[in-house]
């Protein structure tokens, strides 16, 4: 029997909400989680909190395991005083390493998916494209890794905005994505056909066999239709097929660096999903111990061949990304430019400062609970300061895992509600957003949304584009720290409050941009914001893709 005294001893280390959430199937309604844990849960290996791993604790103390003692009770009575750890160090990072798999391996799991519908008849496709082009200025052919109308994400947003912009300018926007999405390049084309999902505008025309599609586009081009090929993403594509299509472009092809996929199939450049690698040589020791190393080595020549054949204009969504790509990609290209995915328009400083009187500072993580978005650091911050009355922790976004002491606020950004996140940041009067990407983010919507929502932005030097947002837009509404320890130190003493007292709160708007269309317009008019010296001799004209 468990005594009341024993329950009182372990209670400070027991997280009833965590336990209830983690054991919904076995906890009958009305059963007290702590009573369940003390009577049988610990024997069944059910962890008492996210911070206490029974398996780990017993492995570290085999004597306790042999004695059959309740590990949490031992911790409360002795282990804590002895300084015993309750969870293995760097658990989040080590789990990532342990679960990391080569994309070529993961791709086998994807093989059963995809769109396996019959390919559209070539003559039908030809006719539908001809109909769509009737009276239009030209044809934009945009290629990415998935069906942008069926999926949600930053790249899909940009393609959507780009389509609208081109359509407003009188162009037909044809989007091609692999019928079978993959986390790698598609296999080299062989006798097996490669199918694209084809959309003209938002309308799904169906599946098209790549040879048919290439022939139709060639005929259109030869009949005088202006073609402009934009490669948003090579992922899931066979670069040899994309090159065949790109060669039909009547003006120089544009290839986007939305991420670092052209450098490595880990497009975040996170070695073993956990450490920013900086894109070392493919034959380096680092690539040798990385699950992505062999795939990178195999895919690299195909990507190089594509770039040497096409020599596209590179567009990156931020200057940090472009600089990194130029320094590390080592791929042929004929020019490079920056085109932000959205622009932050800031209002005047408000009179409302941070930290409303009478309540704790509100600290939030926006978006995915993933390592590339810095979730483990936020989780550790919340674990350490979750009981500190000075702070309340929030997660705004779609919840994919239990958040413990972090209050979850469901937020879903969609095409119909693009401002849902920044509006929620403002509505909740979030004081601080912690954005701790461990890699140089190419374009971080969440950081923009944080600032537009009026929050103070805390980030790390490694986050690439995010520190530049602070430097460029809001030097008084953000702080860049060197490492996680500096973040913990800031929360530990009165440092954060002092920083916020000196800060200025502004709110703003996030204006979506038109992707390549926007860049073309800016290029033509020589917009001073365009950082593209290589385009000074550009003979692009917006009219270039037109007929004749």
């Amino acid at each position: 029997m468990t005594s009341k005294a024993e329950c009182e001893l372990v209670a400070p280390f027991f997280d009833a909400e965590y336990y209830a959430q983690s054991n919904q199937a076995v906890l009958a309604s009305g059963v007290d989680p702590l009573a369940h844990f003390m009577s049988r849960g610990w024997r069944e290996g059910r962890d008492p909190s996210a911070e206490f791993s029974l398996v780990y604790y017993l492995r570290m103390r085999e004597d306790i395991a042999a004695a059959g003692v309740n590990p949490l009770l031992h911790y409360a009575m002795a282990g804590r005083a002895e300084g015993l750890a309750t969870r293995r160090g760097m658990d989040a990072e080590r789990r990532l390493i342990e679960s990391a798999r080569a994309p070529s391996d993961r791709g086998r799991d994807w093989a059963a998916g995809g769109d396996r519908g019959p390919a559209c008849d070539a003559s039908t496709l030809r006719q539908r494209l001809a109909d769509a082009l009737d009276g239009r200025a030209g044809l934009v052919v945009s290629i990415s890794h998935d069906d942008v109308e069926a999926n949600v994400g930053g790249l899909q947003n940009v393609v959507g905005e780009e389509r609208l912009a081109f359509e407003r300018l009188g162009y037909v926007y044809l989007h091609l994505s692999p019928a079978l999405p993959l986390p790698t390049l598609a296999p080299k084309p062989t006798k097996h056909p490669f199918h694209y999902v084809v959309r003209a505008g938002r309308e799904r025309l169906g599946l098209a066999e790549s040879l048919d599609l290439t022939a139709i586009l060639r005929d259109l081009r030869d009949s005088g239709v202006g073609l402009f090929v934009i490669v948003h993403q090579l992922l899931g594509n066979a670069p040899e097929i994309v090159a065949d299509i790109a060669k039909l472009s009547t003006i120089p092809v544009v290839a986007w660096a939305h991420d670092y996929f052209t450098i490595c199939s880990n497009f975040n450049l996170l070695s073993n999903d956990v450490r920013f690698c900086g894109a070392p040589p493919t034959n380096s020791g680092a690539c040798g111990i990385c699950v992505y190393g062999a795939d990178r080595l195999a895919e690299r020549p195909r990507v190089q061949l594509f770039f040497s054949q096409i020599r596209p204009r590179i567009i990156a969504p931020s200057d940090v990304t472009l600089a990194f790509w130029l320094a590390h990609a080592e791929l042929s290209h004929s020019g490079a430019a920056v085109q932000p995915l959205a622009r932050l328009i800031l209002g005047p400083a408000t009179t409302h400062g941070y930290g409303q009187p009478g309540r704790s500072l509100r600290i939030a993580h926006l978006g995915h609970q993933s390592f590339p978005k810095g979730w483990p650091v936020f989780e550790r911050l919340a674990a350490r300061f979750g009981s500190d009355p000075r702070y309340d922790f929030f997660h705004l976004g779609q919840r994919t895992r239990f958040t413990g002491k972090i209050r979850h606020i469901p937020v879903r950004v969609t095409r119909d509600a693009p401002d849902a996140m920044l509006e929620k940041v403002a509505e909740l009067a979030i004081d601080v957003v912690v954005n701790w990407a461990p890699w140089p983010e190419t374009f971080c919507y969440a950081a923009h949304e944080a600032i537009a929502g009026g929050a103070f932005l805390l980030t790390c030097r490694a986050a690439g584009h995010v520190p530049r947002i602070i430097a460029d837009y809001v030097p008084e509404q953000g702080l860049v720290l060197d490492n996680e320890q500096a973040l913990l130190d800031l929360f530990e003493d009165q440092g954060l409050r002092a920083v916020l007292d000196r800060a200025t709160r502004r709110r703003g708007l996030l204006l979506p941009q038109g992707g390549t269309a926007d860049w073309l317009v800016r290029s033509k008019h020589g917009d001073s914001q365009l950082r593209a010296p290589d385009f000074s001799q550009d003979k692009f004209a917006l009219e270039a893709p037109g007929r004749g």
């Binding site: 990072e93 390493i97 956990v274 380096s284 020791g285 680092a286 040798g288 111990i289």
Partner: protein, 335 residues
């Protein structure tokens, strides 16, 4: 580059490790020929193809000229026997004309060229790597590492390089002889297999070099002073020096707990460890019964407890009365 002969010692249970060693050695040191000293026999139906495993050849324990072999096998457990053969194998390789011999434990993986070892063997007769090459500071690290070295030996015998010189051969003969008589895990008696013996080597022999470069023989017992980092060129470093080889001792949660203790909050060493685990999976040995060791059981399959081995070792009368201790049945030693 001239060939250099290298060997490792293992039973079939470590064949996956041997394969990773062979693979990584061939990648960085293609002129090194790896031999396996096999301390085991194939289970029925098990096909062993050394050439497919990247081995230059296999020398079985029975081919080393070890006197009273059956008794030697019975009186040593698997770790003791796999270390006992190292002296005899080294001695035999040098006797047969190898001008340089390097030993590497099967649970080592090579990450860079070892050409410097070849250079050292032109200047020295014996090269040893200490477990630690600088003092620790934390009390727990002093206990784990420095006191550990005082118990188990100053030098880690996962690595040894010997030149075929007179002094090198004198060392090999001495080591062989001592191991044939005293290769036991008996720390209270001052013995720890082949390893404690080598504490005497700098005193007994000339031309001994203590290799203190932190890139060689990195393991949990020296990680506290040799943080694993990876630089912007993708070069893996230990204490800022190129990582030459890592000794993946105990690829289980015990070994990982030690690595965690001394990881210094860095993830690179865990990347290294999981790379090694993945390679072991790639090179997994198929068709081997679980816990197989040909010398681990009596003839009827009953496991031989350590106490039986010890008893047989200590009692001359038993050895005389039961010349084949592996025998099972009414007339057997099996107590």
């Amino acid at each position: 580059m001239a060939e250099l002969h290298c060997f490792t010692s293992a039973s079939f249970a470590y064949l996956d490790r041997v394969r990773v060693l062979a693979e990584t050695l061939a990648k960085h040191n293609p002129n090194w020929k790896l031999w396996l000293c096999l301390v085991d026999q194939e289970p029925p139906g098990f096909a062993f193809h050394p050439e497919q495993d990247g081995l230059a050849g296999v020398v079985r324990i029975s081919e080393l000229g070890i006197p009273n072999l059956r008794t030697q096998i019975f009186t040593h457990d698997i770790v003791e026997l796999c270390t006992l053969v190292k002296g005899a194998m080294l001695d035999q390789m040098l006797a047969r004309g190898a001008d340089r011999v390097v030993y590497l434990d099967p649970d080592i993986a090579v990450f860079d060229t070892l050409a410097h070892i070849e250079c050292l063997l032109t200047q020295y007769d014996v090269v040893l790597t200490p477990h630690q090459v600088e003092p620790d500071e934390l009390p727990s690290a002093i206990r784990d590492n420095e006191i550990g070295s005082l118990k188990w030996g100053v030098y880690n015998l996962g690595f040894l390089a010997v030149a075929g010189t007179l002094e090198g051969r004198r060392f090999a003969r001495w080591w062989r002889d001592r191991l044939l008589d005293h290769c036991y895990d008996d720390v209270p008696s001052g013995l720890f297999t082949d390893q404690r013996w080598c504490d005497l080597v700098p005193a007994f022999f000339d031309g001994v070099h203590v290799l203190r470069d932190p890139g060689y023989n990195v393991a949990s017992w020296n990680l506290s002073r040799r943080p694993i980092t990876i630089d912007e060129n993708g070069d893996i470093k230990a204490a800022g020096r190129p990582l030459r080889f890592f000794h993946f001792t105990k690829v289980n949660w015990v070994g990982e707990a030690m690595i965690e203790r001394y990881s210094g909050g860095r993830v690179e060493v865990f990347e290294l460890m999981h790379w090694y685990r993945r390679r072991l999976m790639v090179h997994a040995t198929h068709g081997l019964p679980k816990s197989w060791w040909a010398y681990g059981t009596y003839a009827d399959g009953t496991p031989i407890p350590h106490a039986h081995r010890r008893l047989y070792r200590d009692r001359a009368d038993l050895r005389e009365h039961y010349p084949n201790p592996f025998t099972a049945g009414p007339a057997a030693f099996l107590p």
